[in-house]
Structure formats: C-alpha cells, structure tokens
Amino acid sequence: MKAAPTLDGRIRIDVESPIDLLAMQSIVPDARLADRGLTERLSPGETSEDWKDYVMPELGEGFESQLGCIERAVSSLDLEDPQPLFIVRDDAESWYGGLNQARLALEDRHGFTGTPPDQLASAERAAWFRSQFYQRLQEMILQFLMLR
C-alpha cells in the first residue's frame, strides 16, 4: 500500500494487494466491534438521564456518520480495477474520527500493554498491526489535512 499527501491537498491511498484491501476493509468492522458504546466510554462518572436521552443519541449518530463516510469510500476499492482512494479535506474529520473509533475498540478489546508484537497471539498481533496502521493514517490526516 502507498499512502501520501498530494500537491492539491488530499491524501492518496493506493491499495496494491489483498492484505492492503483487508486492512482498509477492517476499519469499520473494527470500530463496530466495540465492547461498549463509545458515547458511554466518553462520559466518565455519573451521567444524567437527560444526557443519556438527548445528548448520547446525537453523539452516536455523529459517530455512525463518520463510519458511513469510510464505508462508502472503501466499498469502491477493487483489486481487479485498481483506482486510488482520495481523502479530501472535507472528509478529514470523518476519517480521523472513524479511525479513532476503530483504535478505541481495538484498545478496549485487546488492551495493548506494550508487549512486543512478536510475543502476541496471532489474532492480537493482527489487531495490533491494524491499530498501528490506523494510527499512521490518522497522523497523516492530522498533519496534512486538519492542521493546514
């Protein structure tokens, strides 16, 4: 896979192998596998009924919309007819947020503690690598799209 900023202010991702495709296709399922709701995770301590009834559903819709943006983009990837995927500035926050959801869910599920990846079990090791990949993409989005 190649991912790099373009001169016209986008990030171009070229998916070149089945593993690359799988990594991209894993973002949304990883995010949706969260063991507990993201809105609850973000509200430490006591939460009022009003907050649960009015604010959390709205936040949840926003988070789902981020995943929808990624899902639409990834669904266009096809190894038989390879086309680059572009992340544009307008979608940067959605991409960043969706990747964050995926990393939060993986962290919750596996609790990466700094154990070297070669000492992790196979499924955990794969999750660790995906989390690292998501983080690298987030860093690019932040650096080249959001902070500019």
């Binding site: 604010v55 936040l59 988070f63 932040l142």
Partner: protein, 92 residues
C-alpha cells in the same frame, strides 16, 4: 396601636461554576487533542498545548470553567471529538 413595618432583605444567589474536565486515554494523539482545544475554545496554541500536556501527564485537566449550560455545550462538543470529558462543580 403597634407599629408595623416591612423589612426587605435582598439576597443574590450565584450559581456555582462548573469545570469541564478532559481525561487521558490511551488512543488520542497529542497533536489532535491540542487541535481540538484550539477549535472548540479558540485557545491559542501555547495554551491548548499546555492543557493537552496536563491531560497527558496528570491524567486530567480542567479546560474551562463557567456556567452550567455552557459547560454542557463544551462537554458535548469535546465528546463529539472523542475526548473523554466530564463536568464537575467547582469547590467554591
């Protein structure tokens, strides 16, 4: 005939201010947290960066203090950016 009078006592009750508190988590990137503080509160980069470092080093930071309604709004906005955020009454 007893004298009568009216005594008026004026009291002003001020709401206790609320703190908006951001908590550390293992996922959010430091540059992103700084960016969110600048975007939500309009803080200059040095202040936003100092608050971010406080979250990172001590586990939490009071990022804003004021009236409850505004604190709720900021808390919602920070959570929308996926920062773990709570509100608490100030001690005064």
């Amino acid at each position: 005939m007893p004298e009568t009078g009216t005594v008026t006592r004026q009291e002003t009750s001020l709401d206790v201010p609320w703190n908006v508190v951001v908590h550390d988590d293992p996922v959010n990137l430091m540059g992103y947290v700084t960016w969110v503080f600048m975007k939500v509160f309009g803080y200059a980069e040095p202040r936003a960066n100092r608050l971010m470092m406080e979250v990172h080093q001590t586990g939490r930071s009071v990022v804003w203090t004021g009236e409850k309604e505004r604190a709720e709004l900021y808390t919602q906005q920070l959570q929308a950016f996926q920062l773990k955020t709570s509100m608490e009454k100030t001690e005064s």
